[in-house]
């Protein structure tokens, strides 16, 4: 085990996979010479050369479409889209191209590409650089969507994503890059599609992903002081969803709080709520509580932004409501 920052863990995953497989290559804006605005690809161009670590023009729509077909033609591109807020530019390539080909072409092609991006608020980056668009990509059939909360999962899931033969959207969070935790040594892989219990508890299940796991764990600490035992489920993968781990947790706690940093209306938390209603309604002792971002553009000033975004206090309040 080694203590590692989330960003370092991602870089380590890229580096190991590029060493292992010469067909893996990277492209994105400012990723090569500069090493990425979050330094995830720092020094990789020096090690692997400019053909495998490519700076690109600001052309997200085309770059995403190119990742789809480059992957189809035998290499494994990893595309960095600098902010999740730019994903709407990628949506045609994801929804009308990547999503359809494996099925519509009757299995003739696979598309082993990874689209890495980062989202989330809390940094005062404003309405075009703070969004969590999990629901936008998780809505699309044929894509896998992962959103790690820890450095260990960031590394293990990115390595698994690069080895996957199908498109993987890899959602990072700008406030997680500098968080540190223990990362297992060696060829550390985390299976896509498996949630984990981040904290065991018996009274209420808090189901979250990405930075919301950090907030959920803080909420669980607060709730513990009140004698409430909260279980935190870290989804790790948003699609395909690990329904079994969610069901097993709710079968223990009989109460559920679903958390997502995206907008509330038609958001990812709504999908979690519907899934719970469909699959374990009989286990519930109270309605599912939902915590998400207010349905407005994310404002700039600190007191405005913090009002709009979910946080530990809001998650704890939702847990109390569920148990009331």
């Amino acid at each position: 085990m080694a203590m590692m920052r989330y960003a370092e863990a991602l870089r380590s995953a890229l580096r190991e996979e590029m060493q292992r497989d010469p067909s893996v290559w990277l492209m994105g804006e400012d990723i090569a010479v500069y090493g990425g605005v979050f330094k995830v690809s720092k020094d990789l161009m020096a090690e692997f050369g400019p053909e495998r670590v490519r700076d690109t023009p600001i052309s997200e729509q085309t770059l995403t479409a190119m990742a789809v077909t480059a992957a189809m033609a035998g290499t494994r591109p990893v595309l960095e889209i600098m902010y999740a807020d730019f994903l709407p530019l990628s949506v045609d390539a994801l929804m009308n191209q990547a999503s359809i080909y494996n099925y519509i072409w009757n299995g003739q092609v696979t598309m082993p590409f990874v689209l890495r991006t980062q989202g989330g608020g809390g940094a005062g980056a404003g309405a075009q650089h703070s969004k969590s668009l999990d629901a936008l990509v998780a809505h699309i059939p044929g894509l896998k969507v992962v959103a790690p909360a820890t450095a260990a999962d960031a590394k293990g899931l990115l390595k698994a994503a690069i080895r996957d033969d199908h498109p993987v959207i890899f959602l990072e969070h700008k406030l997680l890059y500098n968080t540190r935790d223990e990362v297992p040594d060696g060829d550390h892989l985390v299976e896509i599609g498996k949630a984990r219990i981040a904290r065991a508890g018996s009274d209420v299940s808090i189901i979250a992903s990405s930075k919301m796991v950090v907030d959920a764990l803080k909420a669980a600490d607060e709730l513990a002081k009140e004698g409430i035992s909260a279980e935190v489920v870290d989804l790790r993968t948003l699609r395909p969803l690990d329904r079994e781990t969610i069901k097993a947790s709710i079968a223990r706690t009989h109460h559920a709080v679903v958390v997502n940093e995206g907008w509330r209306f038609c958001g990812y938390a709504a999908e979690l709520s519907a899934t719970i209603m469909e699959s374990c309604f009989d286990e519930l002792d109270a309605p599912v509580e939902r915590v998400a971002t207010h349905d407005i553009p994310i404002p700039y000033s600190e007191p405005l932004e913090s009002t709009v975004l979910p946080d530990a206090a809001k998650i704890a309040a939702a847990a109390r409501r569920a148990l009331a």
Binding site: P22, S23, W25, E51, R54, T56, P57, S59, Q61, T62, L63, A65, M66, A67, V68, T69, A70, A71, M72, A73, G74, T75, P77, D92, A93, N96, Q97, I100, Y101, N102, Y103, I104, W105, N106, G107, Q108, V109, P141, G142, L143, K144, H166, P167, R239, P240, E278
Partner: protein, 328 residues
């Protein structure tokens, strides 16, 4: 002349053009009879572009097409039966009935594939070219990607982005602009600030050429030179083939916007008539008749076979990973 097709190659291309024309005539009938689903987009009058531009490609070269791709499919070597069976929604179709006429792909033939998001094939071919360039550098191969797209697609933002990247990275891709004058019902003069779209290539530092898209020998020659350039690793080219869509946008088009004098003018310049005339001095009329009759007969046989093929069932072809069908 350099890159001129041989007589045998011209005969082969003539047969393919006739096959495409007859295929679309039959599809028109089948559509009226309710045997096809959705619209059918015919390319009557444009066959020389799709057939002439693809004739020098190998199976390892990758082609992206459009929603009007029958000539591209046939030019790239996809069999008539899998094409017709796909359009009739049969289990024996090129994509087992999942794709329909606008989205046909055949990986063995390097057709990847039809694309009904106008302009979608342009970044797709550019992405193929990145992988092909990496493979070529690794094994000394000379694979290329080709994108056939229309004047409507040329107005998209992704066209600009793709051409910039293709030239910037010296990618082995050939952009073949099948300029048929219309984007759906709108004449190109209402869509483009310049009449000749090839002038835009200069903005990317890319060579370009305008060619008579109804002259299959001229198309073959110009595109062939661009393909050779790409194979040598010298980067992309833009070939603008001027042609004319002699039919409506699709089977749902009620018409009324194409000028009679234009239609009459271009009918005189039917690419099949021109291709046959160019062979008249070197090939006896009986042989030309036989080539054309054989092409039509092959289409008719493919249609008859496909009409008797089974329809697919969802259960037999259930989606597998990465698709998850919750609640199904």
């Amino acid at each position: 002349m350099r890159n001129s097709p041989t007589v045998d190659e011209q005969l082969d291309m003539l047969g393919r053009m006739v096959a495409v024309r007859h295929l679309e005539e039959r599809l028109g009938e089948l559509h009226k009879a309710g045997k096809t689903r959705g619209p059918i987009h015919r390319c009557d009058g444009q066959e020389a572009v799709g057939i002439g531009a693809t004739a020098m490609l190998d199976d390892e070269d990758l082609l992206t097409s459009t929603h009007r791709g029958h000539a591209h499919y046939v030019g790239k070597g996809v069999g008539l039966h899998p094409i017709v069976a796909e359009i009739l929604g049969r289990a024996t179709g090129a994509c087992a009935g999942r794709a329909g006429h606008m989205l046909i792909a055949d990986v063995k033939k390097g057709l990847l594939g039809g694309n009904a998001i106008v302009g979608g094939g342009i970044p797709a071919a550019t992405g193929f070219a990145v992988s092909l360039q990496m493979k070529n550098r690794a094994d000394g191969g000379q694979r290329v990607a080709m994108c056939i797209f229309g004047d409507g697609a040329a107005q998209t933002g992704i066209c600009h982005e793709s051409m910039n990247i293709a030239a910037l990275w010296t990618l082995p891709v050939i952009f073949v602009l099948e300029h048929n004058q219309y984007g759906l019902t709108a004449h190109h003069s209402t869509q483009s600030s310049v009449p000749d779209l090839s002038v835009r290539a200069a903005g990317y530092g890319m060579p370009s050429e305008i060619v008579d898209g109804n002259d299959i020998v001229a198309v073959h020659r110009a595109v062939g030179a661009a393909v050779e350039r790409a194979r040598r690793g010298e980067g992309p080219s833009l070939i603008e083939a001027k042609t004319y869509r002699m039919v409506g946008f699709s089977t749902s088009d009620v018409g009324g916007y194409q000028r009679d004098e234009d239609l009459a003018l271009w009918r005189e310049r039917d690419p099949i008539v021109l291709a046959r005339a160019m062979l008249a001095d070197s090939v006896p009329a009986e042989r030309l008749d036989a080539v054309m009759a054989a092409a039509r007969a092959e289409v008719d046989a493919a249609v008859e076979q496909a009409l008797n093929d089974p329809l697919p069932s969802f259960a037999d072809h259930a989606p597998s990973a990465p698709y998850t069908v919750a609640g199904a």
